[in-house]
Structures are given as structure tokens and as C-alpha cells.
């Protein structure tokens, strides 16, 4: 420590960092080289790719986009939480109008839920293909995922029009308002997911995806799985548990 100009004066308690000793740090290169390559003259330079936030450059080991997606999904949990809470409060308040027991067609909804569930499987397969740089199968599985998602949305649309005809409109009752708002928000999220999948396929085919392609597919996969998990919760609470 004596021949450097950097010392840690007068601490009255152990150094509050996470275990790296000062010796390691002052050496300069130990920590650094794991993260950023050094130029041949010994000066540190960023290799021009820092701003892409690729995984091996970051302190957490997760790329910027993947970490960003996880955080965004965390906030979405709260949003769906609020919508679900509203629904649970109002699920029995249909007044004289039609109620959940008379409306649900569990077999049908199970079938469309199954489609969405399978789409998560195909999404995993797409990510796996992307990691293997198997472009053809990546595209195949992405299309399948989007199609299954589209089937789910089509099923929702059919269901809602049926409910509407049977007497449950958006403004009919509290039950109606909260049901359509919750499932509507979910449906919009699925639709946005389908659009992202198709855009991804397009960009992959034109080689317009910057950075790590597999990671971009994986990031969209995270979103897709989240949307699926939310549906599982909604399906259970709204459809399966009797009012």
C-alpha cells in the first residue's frame, strides 16, 4: 500500500465494501480485465460496445435489455395486481344482470388457455433454436408462438361477443366492467406480444437486430411467459374459482 497515492485513512470500522481488498483494487488490472479489455499500451479503453450493455460487460451479468425487461415485468405485476384486486372486489356485484355462473364456458376457455400455454412452450423452443443460431427453426417456432397467441386472442374475442349477446356488456354492472377491463388489458398485452413477435421475425430476417440476437429473442420470450403466467392466474381466479 505504501507506494501508491491512494490510501484509506482512519476507518474506525471494517471497510464496508463487499470483500474485495484494497490490494486487489489498487493493482488496477485484476478487477478491470474481467470486464473491459485493455489496449496494448496498457491504457484502458472501452471496446466501443459498452453502450450496448452486453452481458459480459455489466456488473450483474445480465444484459441491459434483459434486466430492463425483468424490471418492466415487475411493474406489470403490480398493474395486474390492481386490476385483479378490483375484479375480486366486484365479482359478485352484478345486481339483477347476468352473473359469472351463467356465463362461463369452462371447456372452451380451457381450450384457448391451452393454446396460450403451448405458445409458451414454442417460445422456449424458439429461444433454444436462437441460441443454437438455427435461424430457420427460430423463425418456425416464433411463427408458431404468434399463431397460438393469435388463436388465444381469437378465442377471447369469440367469448366476449358471446357474453355480450347473453347480456353482459361493459356498462351492465360492476362485474361486467371489472371483468372486461381485466381481461381486456390482458388481451391487449397478448396482442402487443404478437406484434412484437412478428416484428422480431421481420427484423431477424433482414438482419436488423443489433447485438446478441438470441438474447433479444429471449427477452421477448420473458414478456411472453409473463403474459401467459398472468393468464393462468386470471383463469384460476376468474373462471375456475366459483363466485
Amino acid at each position: 500500500m505504501s507506494d501508491t497515492t491512494i490510501t484509506d485513512p482512519g476507518v474506525s470500522e471494517p471497510d464496508p465494501d463487499d470483500g474485495a481488498t484494497l490490494d486487489e483494487a489498487t493493482d488496477g488490472t485484476t478487477l478491470v480485465d474481467e470486464v473491459i479489455p485493455t489496449a496494448t499500451d496498457g491504457s484502458r479503453s472501452d471496446d466501443g460496445l459498452d453502450h450496448l450493455g452486453l452481458a459480459h460487460h455489466t456488473s450483474t451479468g445480465l444484459s441491459n435489455t434483459k434486466l430492463g425487461m425483468w424490471l418492466f415485468l415487475g411493474s406489470e405485476c403490480l398493474m395486474f395486481g390492481g386490476l385483479i384486486a378490483t375484479y375480486m372486489l366486484y365479482r359478485n356485484r352484478q345486481g339483477d344482470a347476468i352473473g359469472p355462473d351463467q356465463l362461463w364456458d369452462i371447456p372452451f376457455t380451457s381450450a384457448s388457455s391451452f393454446c396460450l400455454l403451448m405458445s409458451s412452450l414454442t417460445m422456449v423452443l424458439a429461444v433454444s433454436a436462437a441460441k443454437r443460431h438455427d435461424d430457420r427453426n427460430t423463425r418456425l417456432w416464433l411463427i408458431t408462438t404468434a399463431s397460438l397467441g393469435g388463436l388465444f386472442v381469437a378465442g377471447q374475442v369469440y367469448e366476449f361477443t358471446t357474453f355480450y349477446r347473453e347480456g353482459l356488456g361493459y356498462t351492465t354492472s360492476l362485474f361486467g366492467s371489472s371483468f372486461y377491463t381485466l381481461t381486456g388489458f390482458h388481451g391487449v398485452h397478448v396482442s402487443v406480444g404478437i406484434m412484437m413477435l412478428m416484428a422480431l421475425m421481420f427484423m431477424l430476417s433482414r438482419n436488423k437486430v443489433a447485438g446478441d440476437k438470441a438474447e433479444t429473442v429471449e427477452m421477448i420470450g420473458l414478456y411472453w411467459h409473463f403474459v401467459d403466467i398472468v393468464w393462468i392466474i386470471i383463469f384460476t381466479l376468474v373462471y375456475l374459482i366459483p363466485a
Binding site: T5, I6, T7, D8, P9, G10, D15, P16, D17, D18, A20, L22, A25, T26, L31, V32, V35, I36, A39, S43, R44, S45, D46, G48, L49, D50, H51, L52, G53, T58, S59, L62, N64, L67, G68, L71, G74, S75, E76, L78, M79, G81, G82, L83, T86, L89, Y90, R93, G95, Y170, T171, S173, L174, S177, S178, T181, A199, M203, K208, A210
Partner: protein
Amino acid sequence: MAIIERPVDAPATDGGPAVVATPSSSFGYLRRPVQTKGWRSWAFSVDHKKIGIMYGVTAMVFFIVGGLEASLIRAQLARPEGHILSADKYNQMFTMHATTMVFLFVMPMAAAFANYMIPLQIGARDVAFPRLNAFSFWTFLFGGIFINTSWFLGGGADGGWFMYAPNSTTPFSPSDGVNFWTLGLLITGVASLAGAVNLIVTVLNMRAPGMTMMRMPIFTWMGLVTQFLLLFAMPVITVALFLLLFQRNYGATFFSVQDGADPLLWQHLFWIFGHPEVYIIVLPAFGIVSEVLPVFSRKPLFGYPFVVFSGAAIGFLGWGVWAHHMFASGLGPISVSVFAVATMAIAIPTGVKIINWTLTMWGGKLYFSTAMLFAIGLIIEFTIGGLSGVTHSVAPSDTQQTDTYYIVAHFHYVIFGGGVLGLFAGMYYWWPKVFGKLLSETIGKWNFWFMIVGMNMTFGPMHILGLQGQPRRMYIWTEQRAGEGFFNLAFWNLVSSIGTVVLVTGVFLFLVNVWHTTRKAPPAPADPWDARSLEWITSSPPKEYNFERTPTVHALDEFFHRKYEDVGTGDQHEYKKVATGEDVIAEEVAHADAHIHLPSPSYWPIMLALALPIMAYGVIYHTLLIVAGAALLIGSVFGWALEPSTAPESDFDPPSDGGETSKELAVHV
């Protein structure tokens, strides 16, 4: 300006001719903006520093708007049976005053500091998602403008800033004001959420080598906790706002009591957001003060780990106290007890900070710059606000205090005395770094004292007014309820209104200081305060790329340790200055990076941001606008996604002066 290339052995230069590149289009939509001067270099910038400055200027403008609204309120309440504002205008005025101050001033001003300083404090060149950062700013600006157009389009929102249902539904608030409020806050909410994701990823992923979490500057830590609070609180108010929007515009019945709705649903959703919101407001100010006090005491922050953990504890506990805003709403004694005790618990980590700040100064070498005065002012004023908060936590007592001026006193002491004083400390402290000039200390001290005296004159009497029975949100008060004696409620209302004049003068003096400094002050040194943290290892103002090379961090208060060496023996400590700030910077310059790539400016963030208010106007006026806005939104999203974050070199033509290759552009801001 996207690429900075220097020959490896040449030092960084400043000056040199500005060269504007003319890129070919990146995808066939639009050319890349590359202007380095003029309004376009701001409108399409993705540089966190420019964005930070824009946040700050905009927030300051809204501060003045909110202050005008407050002045009108106090003018109306200076005398009994006031005639300055009608009941309707008064109700709009206090609603918009609070909304403007909370959402359009304090939060964005904190965002200004976070955006500018966090990357510098962690040794990064920019944030994780620079275009998203620009998008956040423009969205906030357009949202703020959108809400305020309500003044000219039928009247501002008039339901109070917490907009309780069913009073906020159409039968009871028939004008479009509440619609503007709802949609405007949805828009600014998007900005906050995007900013939160951005800054969290930045702090977690982009710290300089050697900067562990417990070596981060405390402002960055408080900023991180704040962003987590934003991340999880914004979605909840988003749900509440959507429910209200659908109720008002599309016939939903969420708050229609005759259909069986429970009005308390709004209150719960709002306050689950609303309580973390107040920590979102105050934690950045706490962070600033935790930077300022050590620098001007010439000692490190006392108990850094405690301050960090107490900040995280506040962020965590803040989720469990929301119903203390609802003590009189009929929750039942068990719920009320739980929330009362939780509220008392959260006073503990807050109190810890006061202790730590005071002990930081203890034994120090205190220099009373204006920034330091504001920081000390915060300790005193926030203590007052915090203690009155503890008296609210006693729920039976709160049933007498809630909805009276005693509450108004409490939150102004914590928001103004806590949040705003902290932000002003930050402005005086960091002004030389951001703008390259020192704000005048003389005018600064007048600024400070007018604000302190003004705030105590304005908000101090409100404690008395509230405890003696004056409710809040009253457009008039009467002699009949004012009591007898010289010091009756009439007297204190008048004192409070006069205090507003003093306070406004203080704020005006700040603007005078800015004006004077811009015109007259000489350039500031790089390290005017002999500071301790990384952001000072830059020029004043910093270069566009921030650091000549990414610094390596060996300890907390890295900059301090590069300047001072302990030459004492054994247990004796004696600190000798071995390098000035300029020396440290020169060292960095000597080892400057050869290639620095920065993210490129872009049109898409501002275009995407523009789509949101268009859609919002569509909800109020015509569905066609929603479609038009949605088209712009989708188009902008695709343009953004298809555009690489850094323009490839092929995007740049050879420079017009016939220089070597496109690689040899050296463009300076």
C-alpha cells in the same frame, strides 16, 4: 455527434472546428439528426446531461406555475369571505397547485439531478437506454403541457389532487378538467416508469470497475431506491386512473354507488401509490443532502451503511402505511391500529438519517456555502415536518387533525422543507459542474434566508389554524369560526398569506442569481468545493463523453482519496493534500481513451412522445385523434426498433472540409 476518435497519443483537445456530418438515412424513414448546435441538438439529443438540464428547466417553469397558483390561494385566504377567486376557480386552483407541484415540479426536478448526476457518479458515459431517456423527458413535457391546457379548455381539474371518487365522476365534476388530469397523469406516469427502468439498469449494470454497491455515492443509492419505488408505485395509480377514465368516458360503473360500487376502492388504489410517492419525493433530496453535508464538513457521511439501509428500509416499509391517509374513512379499529403502528415504525429509519447528518457535521470543519445552508435548513425543517407526522400516526389524534390545516402544515414542511430545500442545495452545489459557473454566494444567502423565513411564516401558522379547527380545501373562511383574541385564526391566516410574499421573493432571488451568474460570473474551476465523489473528476461542464477514461474505483469517496493522503503515524491521523482536483483530472487526461463511442441522437423519442397527447386529446374530443395518435405511436415504435442505437460508421459521409475519412470526425459540442 456520435463518434469521437482521437489518435492514441494525442491528448483530448477542445476547440477545433465543428463539423456537421450529413448521414444517409438509416432505414429510409428519416435521416439521423446530427446537428451539434441549436435547438435540434437539444430536441433530438440522447445525452443524459442535456436531458437532465431540460428536465431541470421545465421543472423550474412548473415550479413558478405552481407557485402562482399557491399565491392566488393564499391571496384568497388572507381575509375572511375573500373575493379573489370564486369557489369553482379556487377548487381548480388547489387541485392544480398540488398536481403541478408534485408531478410536474418535484418529481421531474429530482429526475433532472438523477439523470445528470447518476451516470457521472458511477463512472458511466450515459444511461443504459439513452433514447428511452429522451423519450421520458419529452413524454413528461408533453404530459405537463397537456394537463395545463385544461385551463383554456373548460377549466382545470377540480376534485383535489387525490381526486376521491365519487366526487371525481362526471355527475359531480362535469367539466373536462378531471379528464385532462387523468390522461395527463397517465402520460407523465409512462415517463416515470420508463425512467425508473432506465436508471435501475444503469445503476445495477454500468458502474465503473471497483465500484461495488457499498462504494456508490449516497445520492445514487437514494436514487436507486426512489426508482424502485417508482417502478412499483406507478402501475397502481395507472390502474386507478384507467378505472376513473373508463368511468367518466366509457360508462363503466367502478365508482357508481347506486350500482353497488365501493368508493373506498379509489382511496386504497390511490394511496397505495400515494404513500410511496411521498418517499419518491423526499429520498432524492435526502441523497443530495447526504452528499453536500460531508463535502462542506470535510468528513465522510457518518454511518454510510446505516444511511443506505435506512433508505432501503423506508422504501420497503413505505408500502405498508398507506391507510394512514384513511384513518377517518371507517376502516375499523384493527386495520387502523396496524397502520398506525406501521406509520410509527417508519419514523425510525427517517430519524436515523437526521442523526447521521448531524453526526456528520460533528467534529467537522464546517463551511457555510449556500448549498450547506440549504442542507442544514433541511435538517431543521424536515424534523418539524417529521414530528408533526408522528403526531398524525396516533390515529385517534389524527381523526381530529386529518383534513385540517394541520395536515397542510405537515406535508408542506416535509415536501418543501425536505424535498425542495434539498433540491436547492443540489442546485447550488452542482451548478458549477453542470454549467461551468458558480452561482453567486451573496445572492444565494439572500435566496436562502428569504425562503426559510418565508416558508416558516407561510406554513408555521397552519399548525395552529388546523389544530384550532380550520379545515382544508375551503375557498373561504368566516369570522364566526375564527375565534376571539388578537392571535385568532384571522391573524394567522393573514400571517400565512404575507409569508407567501416572502417565500416568493426568495424563489425570485434564485432566478435573479441564475440570471446574474449567466451573464457576469467567471468560469468555475473543476473542483470548487474540494468534493469527494466521481462526478467531479470531469471538466466543468463535463465533456460530452463524461470521463477521459472510465475511472477505477478503490474506495468510497474515491475522489477524496486521490487528493488526500493520511500521513499520520499509528492512531494519529493527519491528512495532507497530495493532489488538487485539477491534478487528478490531468492524470485522467494523460491516460485518455482512444476510442469512445457514444449513442447517436434520434428523432424517434420525441415523435413517440408526441403520439401520447394526441391520443389523449382524442379521448376527450374525437376518436379519430386516437387513431391518428396510435398510427404515430406504432410508426415511431417501429422506427425506433429498426434504428440502431449508435449510427454505424457508414451512416456518416466524409466531412465537407475534405478530411481523411469519415472516421476522423472530431466534433465538439
